[in-house]
Protein backbone atom coordinates (compact mmCIF):
# COMPACT_ATOMS: atom_id res chain seq x y z
CA UNK A 1 0.00 0.00 0.00
CA UNK A 2 1.21 3.49 -0.76
CA UNK A 3 1.39 6.09 1.93
CA UNK A 4 -0.47 9.34 1.37
CA UNK A 5 1.90 12.12 0.45
CA UNK A 6 1.77 15.52 2.04
CA UNK A 7 1.53 18.46 -0.33
CA UNK A 8 4.65 20.56 -0.29
CA UNK A 9 6.70 17.91 1.49
CA UNK A 10 9.98 17.30 -0.30
CA UNK A 11 11.85 14.03 -0.08
CA UNK A 12 14.71 14.13 2.43
CA UNK A 13 17.88 15.10 0.56
CA UNK A 14 20.66 12.65 -0.12
CA UNK A 15 23.42 12.63 2.47
CA UNK A 16 26.71 14.01 1.11
CA UNK A 17 29.51 11.39 1.15
CA UNK A 18 31.65 13.23 3.70
CA UNK A 19 28.88 13.07 6.31
CA UNK A 20 28.24 9.36 5.84
CA UNK A 21 30.87 8.64 8.47
CA UNK A 22 28.55 10.24 11.01
CA UNK A 23 25.75 8.18 12.60
CA UNK A 24 22.83 7.45 10.26
CA UNK A 25 20.06 10.01 10.35
CA UNK A 26 22.25 12.68 11.89
CA UNK A 27 22.02 15.09 9.01
CA UNK A 28 19.01 16.12 6.93
CA UNK A 29 20.76 18.93 5.05
CA UNK A 30 18.49 21.58 6.52
CA UNK A 31 20.71 23.46 8.95
CA UNK A 32 19.72 26.72 7.23
CA UNK A 33 16.31 26.35 8.89
CA UNK A 34 18.05 26.97 12.19
CA UNK A 35 19.41 30.20 10.77
CA UNK A 36 15.87 31.16 9.86
CA UNK A 37 14.77 30.37 13.40
CA UNK A 38 17.57 32.43 14.96
CA UNK A 39 16.96 35.37 12.63
CA UNK A 40 13.24 35.33 13.47
CA UNK A 41 13.96 35.09 17.19
CA UNK A 42 16.49 37.93 17.14
CA UNK A 43 13.88 40.29 15.69
CA UNK A 44 12.33 40.26 19.14
CA UNK A 45 15.64 40.58 21.01
CA UNK A 46 17.24 43.05 18.59
CA UNK A 47 18.49 45.14 21.50
CA UNK A 48 20.78 42.36 22.72
CA UNK A 49 21.82 41.77 19.15
CA UNK A 50 22.73 45.40 18.46
CA UNK A 51 24.37 45.92 21.85
CA UNK A 52 27.02 43.33 21.00
CA UNK A 53 28.50 45.76 18.51
CA UNK A 54 29.10 48.49 21.08
CA UNK A 55 31.16 46.61 23.62
CA UNK A 56 34.45 46.54 21.65
CA UNK A 57 33.83 50.11 20.50
CA UNK A 58 33.59 51.28 24.10
CA UNK A 59 36.81 49.45 24.84
CA UNK A 60 38.49 51.03 21.84
CA UNK A 61 37.50 54.56 22.84
CA UNK A 62 38.35 54.16 26.52
CA UNK A 63 41.51 52.12 26.23
CA UNK A 64 42.77 53.59 22.98
CA UNK A 65 42.40 57.17 24.17
CA UNK A 66 42.81 56.84 27.91
CA UNK A 67 45.41 54.13 28.27
CA UNK A 68 47.01 55.38 25.06
CA UNK A 69 47.76 58.67 26.80
CA UNK A 70 49.92 56.73 29.27
CA UNK A 71 51.69 54.71 26.60
CA UNK A 72 52.24 56.93 23.59
CA UNK A 73 53.47 54.92 20.63
CA UNK A 74 54.53 51.28 20.38
CA UNK A 75 56.46 49.26 17.86
CA UNK A 76 53.95 47.47 15.62
CA UNK A 77 54.35 44.00 14.09
CA UNK A 78 56.46 45.41 11.23
CA UNK A 79 58.75 47.25 13.64
CA UNK A 80 57.44 50.73 12.80
CA UNK A 81 55.95 52.89 15.58
CA UNK A 82 52.13 52.87 15.74
CA UNK A 83 49.64 54.55 18.07
CA UNK A 84 48.34 52.61 21.06
CA UNK A 85 44.83 52.66 19.59
CA UNK A 86 46.13 51.11 16.34
CA UNK A 87 47.88 48.51 18.51
CA UNK A 88 44.88 47.38 20.58
CA UNK A 89 42.15 47.72 17.90
CA UNK A 90 43.07 44.48 16.06
CA UNK A 91 43.41 42.81 19.47
CA UNK A 92 39.89 43.91 20.38
CA UNK A 93 38.63 42.69 17.01
CA UNK A 94 40.10 39.24 17.65
CA UNK A 95 38.85 39.18 21.24
CA UNK A 96 35.34 40.17 20.21
CA UNK A 97 35.28 37.41 17.57
CA UNK A 98 36.28 34.98 20.31
CA UNK A 99 33.86 36.28 22.94
CA UNK A 100 30.84 36.31 20.63
CA UNK A 101 31.51 32.84 19.25
CA UNK A 102 32.16 31.34 22.67
CA UNK A 103 29.08 32.94 24.20
CA UNK A 104 26.84 31.72 21.39
CA UNK A 105 28.23 28.20 21.41
CA UNK A 106 28.33 27.71 25.18
CA UNK A 107 25.74 29.63 27.23
CA UNK A 108 23.20 29.91 24.45
CA UNK A 109 23.53 26.32 23.31
CA UNK A 110 23.48 24.97 26.87
CA UNK A 111 20.32 26.92 27.64
CA UNK A 112 18.57 25.60 24.55
CA UNK A 113 19.80 22.09 25.24
CA UNK A 114 18.93 21.75 28.92
CA UNK A 115 16.33 24.38 29.74
CA UNK A 116 14.37 25.34 26.65
CA UNK A 117 14.58 21.73 25.37
CA UNK A 118 14.59 23.34 21.96
CA UNK A 119 16.75 20.71 20.34
CA UNK A 120 14.39 17.96 21.53
CA UNK A 121 11.65 19.71 19.59
CA UNK A 122 13.86 19.98 16.52
CA UNK A 123 14.87 16.33 16.67
CA UNK A 124 11.21 15.32 16.51
CA UNK A 125 11.34 16.65 12.94
CA UNK A 126 13.59 15.28 10.18
CA UNK A 127 16.44 17.48 11.50
CA UNK A 128 19.38 15.64 13.05
CA UNK A 129 22.19 16.59 15.47
CA UNK A 130 24.51 17.62 12.64
CA UNK A 131 21.90 20.06 11.29
CA UNK A 132 21.68 21.56 14.76
CA UNK A 133 25.45 21.86 15.25
CA UNK A 134 26.02 23.43 11.83
CA UNK A 135 23.00 25.71 12.14
CA UNK A 136 24.05 27.08 15.52
CA UNK A 137 27.66 27.60 14.45
CA UNK A 138 26.43 29.24 11.25
CA UNK A 139 24.35 31.72 13.21
CA UNK A 140 27.27 32.51 15.51
CA UNK A 141 29.33 33.24 12.38
CA UNK A 142 26.71 35.49 10.79
CA UNK A 143 26.47 37.45 13.99
CA UNK A 144 30.25 37.57 14.42
CA UNK A 145 30.66 38.66 10.80
CA UNK A 146 28.26 41.57 11.27
CA UNK A 147 30.03 42.71 14.44
CA UNK A 148 33.44 42.43 12.79
CA UNK A 149 32.23 44.49 9.82
CA UNK A 150 30.90 47.12 12.21
CA UNK A 151 34.10 47.24 14.21
CA UNK A 152 36.30 47.43 11.12
CA UNK A 153 34.20 50.37 9.91
CA UNK A 154 34.77 52.11 13.24
CA UNK A 155 38.50 51.44 12.95
CA UNK A 156 38.47 52.90 9.45
CA UNK A 157 36.62 55.98 10.69
CA UNK A 158 39.26 56.48 13.41
CA UNK A 159 41.99 56.14 10.79
CA UNK A 160 43.33 52.92 12.31
CA UNK A 161 43.41 50.92 9.09
CA UNK A 162 46.59 51.68 7.25
CA UNK A 163 46.73 48.90 4.65
CA UNK A 164 44.40 47.33 2.05
CA UNK A 165 45.28 43.98 3.65
CA UNK A 166 42.83 45.05 6.35
CA UNK A 167 40.01 43.86 4.09
CA UNK A 168 41.17 40.32 4.84
CA UNK A 169 40.61 40.92 8.54
CA UNK A 170 36.90 40.20 8.01
CA UNK A 171 37.31 36.65 6.66
CA UNK A 172 40.05 36.13 9.22
CA UNK A 173 37.63 37.12 11.98
CA UNK A 174 35.15 34.59 10.61
CA UNK A 175 37.74 31.81 10.66
CA UNK A 176 38.66 32.72 14.25
CA UNK A 177 34.99 32.80 15.28
CA UNK A 178 34.35 29.45 13.58
CA UNK A 179 37.25 27.87 15.45
CA UNK A 180 36.11 29.17 18.84
CA UNK A 181 32.46 28.26 18.14
CA UNK A 182 33.42 24.71 17.18
CA UNK A 183 35.55 24.21 20.29
CA UNK A 184 32.91 25.94 22.42
CA UNK A 185 30.19 23.63 21.19
CA UNK A 186 32.36 20.58 21.78
CA UNK A 187 33.03 21.84 25.33
CA UNK A 188 29.33 22.52 25.94
CA UNK A 189 28.50 18.91 25.17
CA UNK A 190 30.50 17.97 28.27
CA UNK A 191 28.90 20.54 30.60
CA UNK A 192 26.74 19.21 33.40
CA UNK A 193 25.45 22.38 35.09
CA UNK A 194 25.88 26.15 35.09
CA UNK A 195 28.68 25.72 37.63
CA UNK A 196 30.83 24.28 34.86
CA UNK A 197 30.63 27.56 32.98
CA UNK A 198 33.09 29.05 35.43
CA UNK A 199 35.61 27.03 33.46
CA UNK A 200 34.60 28.92 30.32
CA UNK A 201 35.24 32.22 32.09
CA UNK A 202 38.51 30.80 33.36
CA UNK A 203 39.60 30.06 29.80
CA UNK A 204 38.31 33.21 28.13
CA UNK A 205 39.10 36.01 30.56
CA UNK A 206 42.83 35.29 31.01
CA UNK A 207 43.19 35.03 27.24
CA UNK A 208 41.43 38.35 26.75
CA UNK A 209 43.67 40.00 29.33
CA UNK A 210 47.02 38.35 28.63
CA UNK A 211 47.15 37.23 25.00
CA UNK A 212 48.79 40.51 23.86
CA UNK A 213 45.48 42.33 23.40
CA UNK A 214 46.60 45.28 25.54
CA UNK A 215 50.41 45.15 25.44
CA UNK A 216 53.16 43.39 23.47
CA UNK A 217 54.57 39.98 24.30
CA UNK A 218 57.88 41.61 25.25
CA UNK A 219 56.64 42.64 28.74
CA UNK A 220 56.67 38.96 29.78
CA UNK A 221 59.67 36.91 30.90
CA UNK A 222 60.81 34.33 28.35
CA UNK A 223 58.97 31.30 29.83
CA UNK A 224 55.68 33.19 29.98
CA UNK A 225 56.12 34.31 26.39
CA UNK A 226 56.22 30.64 25.38
CA UNK A 227 53.01 29.90 27.32
CA UNK A 228 51.15 32.88 25.87
CA UNK A 229 52.40 31.86 22.41
CA UNK A 230 50.33 28.67 22.65
CA UNK A 231 47.00 30.40 23.32
CA UNK A 232 44.54 30.53 20.43
CA UNK A 233 43.70 34.18 21.03
CA UNK A 234 47.39 35.06 20.70
CA UNK A 235 47.38 33.64 17.17
CA UNK A 236 44.17 35.49 16.38
CA UNK A 237 45.62 38.78 17.61
CA UNK A 238 48.85 38.28 15.64
CA UNK A 239 46.84 37.55 12.50
CA UNK A 240 44.60 40.61 12.89
CA UNK A 241 47.41 42.95 13.86
CA UNK A 242 49.47 41.93 10.83
CA UNK A 243 46.51 42.42 8.51
CA UNK A 244 45.29 45.79 9.83
CA UNK A 245 48.81 47.27 9.90
CA UNK A 246 49.83 45.69 6.59
CA UNK A 247 52.81 43.77 8.00
CA UNK A 248 51.87 40.67 6.02
CA UNK A 249 54.23 37.72 5.69
CA UNK A 250 54.01 33.99 4.92
CA UNK A 251 54.19 33.07 8.60
CA UNK A 252 50.56 34.16 8.93
CA UNK A 253 49.57 30.91 7.25
CA UNK A 254 50.84 29.18 10.37
CA UNK A 255 48.25 31.04 12.45
CA UNK A 256 45.61 30.11 9.92
CA UNK A 257 46.59 26.44 10.15
CA UNK A 258 46.20 26.66 13.94
CA UNK A 259 42.54 27.63 13.50
CA UNK A 260 41.84 25.04 10.82
CA UNK A 261 42.98 22.34 13.25
CA UNK A 262 40.73 23.83 15.95
CA UNK A 263 37.78 23.76 13.56
CA UNK A 264 38.31 20.13 12.52
CA UNK A 265 38.78 19.02 16.11
CA UNK A 266 35.78 20.97 17.43
CA UNK A 267 33.36 19.83 14.74
CA UNK A 268 34.31 16.17 15.04
CA UNK A 269 33.95 16.10 18.81
CA UNK A 270 30.78 18.23 18.83
CA UNK A 271 28.95 16.14 16.24
CA UNK A 272 29.77 12.86 17.96
CA UNK A 273 28.98 14.14 21.43
CA UNK A 274 25.72 15.81 20.43
CA UNK A 275 24.61 12.53 18.94
CA UNK A 276 25.22 10.73 22.23
CA UNK A 277 23.67 13.56 24.21
CA UNK A 278 20.53 14.12 22.16
CA UNK A 279 19.70 10.63 20.95
CA UNK A 280 19.73 8.72 24.21
Amino acid sequence: MTSPTTPGMPAPPQVPPILRMLPAGGYAGRSRMLLLRSATASRRTWMAFVSGFFEPVFYLIAMGQGLGSLVGELPGPGGEMISYAAFIAPGLLAASAMNGAVFDSTYNVFFKLKYARLYDAMLATPLGPVDIALGEIGWALIRGGLYATGFLSVMAAFGLLTSPWALLALPAALVVAFAFAAIGMAATSFMRSWQDFDLVTLAILPMFLFATTFYPLSVYPRWLQLVVGCLPLFHAVELMRALTTGAVHLGLLGHLAYFLVMIALGITVAARRLDVLLLK
Binding site: R44, M47, F54, F58, G72, D198, P206, F214, Y215, V219
Partner: protein, 276 residues
Amino acid sequence: MALVEVPARPAPDAPGRLRGALIVAEHHWTWYRRNWRATVVSSVLQPLLFLLAFGVGFGALVDGTGRAATATGGVDYLVWLAPALLAMSAVQTAAFESTYPVLSGFKWQRGYHAMAATPLTGAQIAVGHLGWIGAKMFASGAIYVAVIALFGGVQSVGIVVSLLVATLAGMSVASLVMWFAATVENEGSAFSALFRFVVIPMTLFSGTFFPIDRLPVLVQPVAWVSPLWHATELARSAALDAWRPVAAAGHLAHLLVLLAVGTLLVTRRFARRLAP
Protein backbone atom coordinates in the same frame (compact mmCIF):
# COMPACT_ATOMS: atom_id res chain seq x y z
CA MET B 1 -18.49 16.95 67.26
CA ALA B 2 -15.06 18.09 66.17
CA LEU B 3 -13.27 15.44 64.10
CA VAL B 4 -9.86 16.31 65.49
CA GLU B 5 -8.86 18.09 68.67
CA VAL B 6 -6.49 20.94 67.81
CA PRO B 7 -4.01 21.55 70.64
CA ALA B 8 -3.35 25.21 71.45
CA ARG B 9 -0.04 26.43 69.98
CA PRO B 10 1.98 29.48 70.89
CA ALA B 11 1.61 31.95 67.98
CA PRO B 12 4.96 33.51 66.98
CA ASP B 13 5.10 37.28 66.65
CA ALA B 14 6.00 38.95 63.37
CA PRO B 15 9.68 39.97 63.48
CA GLY B 16 10.61 43.61 63.93
CA ARG B 17 11.80 45.69 61.01
CA LEU B 18 15.54 45.14 61.32
CA ARG B 19 15.25 41.58 62.56
CA GLY B 20 13.18 40.70 59.50
CA ALA B 21 15.90 41.95 57.18
CA LEU B 22 18.51 40.05 59.17
CA ILE B 23 16.51 36.85 58.83
CA VAL B 24 16.46 37.36 55.06
CA ALA B 25 20.22 37.90 55.02
CA GLU B 26 20.59 34.73 57.09
CA HIS B 27 18.66 32.84 54.42
CA HIS B 28 21.14 34.01 51.77
CA TRP B 29 24.05 33.07 54.02
CA THR B 30 22.65 29.55 54.46
CA TRP B 31 22.42 29.16 50.70
CA TYR B 32 25.88 30.60 50.23
CA ARG B 33 27.58 28.23 52.65
CA ARG B 34 26.54 25.44 50.33
CA ASN B 35 27.30 27.19 47.06
CA TRP B 36 30.17 29.56 47.73
CA ARG B 37 32.46 27.83 45.26
CA ALA B 38 30.30 29.06 42.41
CA THR B 39 31.19 32.67 43.17
CA VAL B 40 34.93 32.29 43.69
CA VAL B 41 35.72 32.85 40.04
CA SER B 42 33.68 36.02 39.67
CA SER B 43 34.37 37.60 43.04
CA VAL B 44 38.02 36.72 43.69
CA LEU B 45 39.71 35.37 40.60
CA GLN B 46 38.32 37.88 38.12
CA PRO B 47 39.60 40.98 39.97
CA LEU B 48 42.91 39.21 40.56
CA LEU B 49 43.34 38.67 36.83
CA PHE B 50 42.59 42.34 36.15
CA LEU B 51 45.18 43.28 38.77
CA LEU B 52 47.80 41.08 37.11
CA ALA B 53 46.99 42.17 33.58
CA PHE B 54 46.88 45.90 34.21
CA GLY B 55 48.70 46.50 37.49
CA VAL B 56 51.60 44.18 36.76
CA GLY B 57 51.62 43.63 32.97
CA PHE B 58 50.53 47.02 31.75
CA GLY B 59 52.40 48.62 34.64
CA ALA B 60 55.63 47.08 33.30
CA LEU B 61 54.93 48.80 29.99
CA VAL B 62 54.33 52.30 31.37
CA ASP B 63 56.26 52.56 34.64
CA GLY B 64 59.42 54.51 34.14
CA THR B 65 57.99 56.47 31.23
CA GLY B 66 57.27 60.07 32.17
CA ARG B 67 53.80 59.90 30.67
CA ALA B 68 52.39 57.53 33.30
CA ALA B 69 54.04 59.36 36.19
CA THR B 70 52.30 62.62 35.31
CA ALA B 71 48.96 60.80 35.46
CA THR B 72 49.56 58.90 38.69
CA GLY B 73 51.31 61.69 40.54
CA GLY B 74 54.54 59.76 40.67
CA VAL B 75 53.42 56.53 42.37
CA ASP B 76 53.72 53.12 40.71
CA TYR B 77 50.89 52.34 38.32
CA LEU B 78 49.97 49.27 40.40
CA VAL B 79 49.62 51.32 43.60
CA TRP B 80 47.59 53.92 41.74
CA LEU B 81 45.35 51.31 40.09
CA ALA B 82 44.72 48.96 43.05
CA PRO B 83 42.12 50.98 45.01
CA ALA B 84 40.25 51.76 41.79
CA LEU B 85 40.12 48.08 40.86
CA LEU B 86 38.75 47.38 44.33
CA ALA B 87 35.87 49.75 43.66
CA MET B 88 35.36 48.49 40.12
CA SER B 89 35.18 44.89 41.23
CA ALA B 90 32.64 45.75 43.95
CA VAL B 91 30.42 47.63 41.53
CA GLN B 92 30.59 44.90 38.88
CA THR B 93 29.77 42.16 41.38
CA ALA B 94 26.98 44.29 42.82
CA ALA B 95 25.43 44.81 39.40
CA PHE B 96 25.57 41.14 38.58
CA GLU B 97 24.25 39.96 41.94
CA SER B 98 21.29 42.33 41.63
CA THR B 99 20.04 41.21 38.23
CA TYR B 100 19.50 37.50 37.55
CA PRO B 101 19.30 36.43 41.22
CA VAL B 102 16.61 39.07 41.85
CA LEU B 103 14.53 38.13 38.81
CA SER B 104 14.93 34.51 39.84
CA GLY B 105 13.59 35.32 43.30
CA PHE B 106 10.45 36.70 41.70
CA LYS B 107 10.11 34.44 38.74
CA TRP B 108 12.14 31.24 38.46
CA GLN B 109 12.98 29.97 41.94
CA ARG B 110 10.34 32.29 43.46
CA GLY B 111 12.19 32.45 46.76
CA TYR B 112 10.85 35.96 47.44
CA HIS B 113 7.28 34.71 47.16
CA ALA B 114 8.06 31.94 49.61
CA MET B 115 9.43 34.54 52.07
CA ALA B 116 6.48 36.84 51.49
CA ALA B 117 4.15 34.02 52.57
CA THR B 118 5.69 34.34 56.06
CA PRO B 119 5.39 37.43 58.29
CA LEU B 120 8.33 39.04 56.40
CA THR B 121 7.48 42.17 54.42
CA GLY B 122 8.57 43.09 50.91
CA ALA B 123 10.74 45.90 52.27
CA GLN B 124 12.51 43.51 54.66
CA ILE B 125 13.12 41.06 51.84
CA ALA B 126 14.66 43.82 49.70
CA VAL B 127 16.80 45.28 52.49
CA GLY B 128 17.88 41.82 53.63
CA HIS B 129 19.06 40.91 50.15
CA LEU B 130 20.78 44.27 49.71
CA GLY B 131 22.52 43.91 53.08
CA TRP B 132 23.64 40.43 52.10
CA ILE B 133 25.13 41.71 48.85
CA GLY B 134 26.97 44.39 50.84
CA ALA B 135 28.34 41.88 53.33
CA LYS B 136 29.56 39.62 50.56
CA MET B 137 31.23 42.50 48.71
CA PHE B 138 32.98 43.56 51.88
CA ALA B 139 34.28 40.04 52.47
CA SER B 140 35.52 39.45 48.93
CA GLY B 141 36.97 43.00 48.91
CA ALA B 142 38.92 42.20 52.07
CA ILE B 143 40.41 39.14 50.37
CA TYR B 144 41.24 41.32 47.40
CA VAL B 145 43.05 43.85 49.60
CA ALA B 146 45.19 41.04 50.99
CA VAL B 147 46.07 39.91 47.46
CA ILE B 148 46.92 43.46 46.41
CA ALA B 149 49.22 43.75 49.44
CA LEU B 150 50.99 40.54 48.37
CA PHE B 151 51.76 42.12 45.00
CA GLY B 152 53.09 45.26 46.70
CA GLY B 153 50.16 47.45 45.70
CA VAL B 154 49.37 48.80 49.18
CA GLN B 155 51.02 52.02 50.31
CA SER B 156 49.06 52.97 53.43
CA VAL B 157 46.42 51.65 55.83
CA GLY B 158 44.09 54.07 54.08
CA ILE B 159 43.22 51.11 51.83
CA VAL B 160 40.84 50.00 54.61
CA VAL B 161 38.85 53.16 53.96
CA SER B 162 38.99 52.33 50.24
CA LEU B 163 37.41 48.99 51.07
CA LEU B 164 34.56 50.69 52.92
CA VAL B 165 34.07 53.11 50.04
CA ALA B 166 33.99 50.25 47.56
CA THR B 167 31.35 48.48 49.64
CA LEU B 168 29.25 51.65 49.85
CA ALA B 169 29.48 52.20 46.10
CA GLY B 170 28.59 48.57 45.47
CA MET B 171 25.50 48.87 47.65
CA SER B 172 24.42 52.11 45.97
CA VAL B 173 24.64 50.44 42.58
CA ALA B 174 23.05 47.24 43.90
CA SER B 175 20.04 49.10 45.29
CA LEU B 176 19.36 50.81 41.96
CA VAL B 177 19.95 47.70 39.88
CA MET B 178 17.75 45.62 42.21
CA TRP B 179 15.02 48.17 41.71
CA PHE B 180 15.42 47.88 37.96
CA ALA B 181 15.50 44.07 38.10
CA ALA B 182 12.33 44.08 40.20
CA THR B 183 10.51 46.00 37.45
CA VAL B 184 11.54 43.45 34.82
CA GLU B 185 8.90 40.85 34.04
CA ASN B 186 10.65 39.02 31.25
CA GLU B 187 14.44 39.00 31.07
CA GLY B 188 14.51 39.33 27.26
CA SER B 189 17.37 41.67 26.55
CA ALA B 190 16.90 43.99 29.54
CA PHE B 191 19.91 42.75 31.48
CA SER B 192 22.29 42.42 28.56
CA ALA B 193 21.39 45.98 27.58
CA LEU B 194 22.01 47.11 31.17
CA PHE B 195 25.43 45.50 31.20
CA ARG B 196 26.47 46.63 27.77
CA PHE B 197 25.15 50.17 27.87
CA VAL B 198 25.51 51.00 31.57
CA VAL B 199 27.81 48.69 33.51
CA ILE B 200 30.60 48.21 30.98
CA PRO B 201 30.82 51.89 29.95
CA MET B 202 30.77 52.75 33.64
CA THR B 203 33.76 50.50 34.35
CA LEU B 204 35.64 51.87 31.34
CA PHE B 205 34.91 55.58 31.72
CA SER B 206 35.19 56.10 35.48
CA GLY B 207 38.88 56.83 35.77
CA THR B 208 39.86 53.33 36.86
CA PHE B 209 42.69 52.78 34.41
CA PHE B 210 43.53 56.39 33.57
CA PRO B 211 42.44 59.85 34.79
CA ILE B 212 39.21 60.94 33.14
CA ASP B 213 40.79 64.15 31.83
CA ARG B 214 42.50 61.92 29.24
CA LEU B 215 39.11 61.18 27.68
CA PRO B 216 37.55 63.24 24.88
CA VAL B 217 35.78 66.25 26.43
CA LEU B 218 32.42 64.97 25.21
CA VAL B 219 32.79 61.71 27.12
CA GLN B 220 33.94 63.21 30.44
CA PRO B 221 30.43 64.04 31.76
CA VAL B 222 29.71 60.28 31.69
CA ALA B 223 32.11 59.98 34.61
CA TRP B 224 30.49 62.73 36.69
CA VAL B 225 27.19 60.83 36.97
CA SER B 226 28.89 57.47 37.40
CA PRO B 227 28.89 56.29 41.02
CA LEU B 228 32.03 54.35 40.20
CA TRP B 229 33.94 57.53 39.37
CA HIS B 230 33.02 59.07 42.72
CA ALA B 231 33.98 55.84 44.47
CA THR B 232 37.25 55.64 42.54
CA GLU B 233 38.22 59.21 43.49
CA LEU B 234 37.44 58.55 47.16
CA ALA B 235 39.09 55.13 47.30
CA ARG B 236 42.21 56.45 45.59
CA SER B 237 42.50 59.48 47.90
CA ALA B 238 42.28 57.14 50.88
CA ALA B 239 44.83 54.65 49.58
CA LEU B 240 47.32 57.32 48.53
CA ASP B 241 46.70 59.56 51.57
CA ALA B 242 45.89 62.43 49.24
CA TRP B 243 42.69 63.93 50.65
CA ARG B 244 40.92 66.97 49.30
CA PRO B 245 38.17 67.42 51.93
CA VAL B 246 35.60 69.36 49.89
CA ALA B 247 35.80 67.06 46.89
CA ALA B 248 35.72 64.01 49.15
CA ALA B 249 32.59 65.25 50.90
CA GLY B 250 30.94 65.74 47.51
CA HIS B 251 31.81 62.23 46.34
CA LEU B 252 30.59 60.69 49.59
CA ALA B 253 27.34 62.66 49.44
CA HIS B 254 26.76 61.47 45.88
CA LEU B 255 27.10 57.81 46.90
CA LEU B 256 24.94 58.20 50.02
CA VAL B 257 22.16 59.95 48.11
CA LEU B 258 22.17 57.20 45.49
CA LEU B 259 21.95 54.55 48.20
CA ALA B 260 19.07 56.37 49.92
CA VAL B 261 17.14 56.83 46.68
CA GLY B 262 17.87 53.28 45.58
CA THR B 263 16.77 51.80 48.89
CA LEU B 264 13.56 53.80 48.86
CA LEU B 265 12.76 52.69 45.30
CA VAL B 266 13.65 49.06 45.79
CA THR B 267 11.74 48.58 49.05
CA ARG B 268 8.61 50.12 47.52
CA ARG B 269 8.95 48.10 44.36
CA PHE B 270 9.45 44.82 46.24
CA ALA B 271 6.47 45.52 48.47
CA ARG B 272 4.28 46.25 45.46
CA ARG B 273 5.40 43.27 43.42
CA LEU B 274 5.06 40.79 46.28
CA ALA B 275 1.67 42.05 47.45
CA PRO B 276 0.03 43.72 44.47
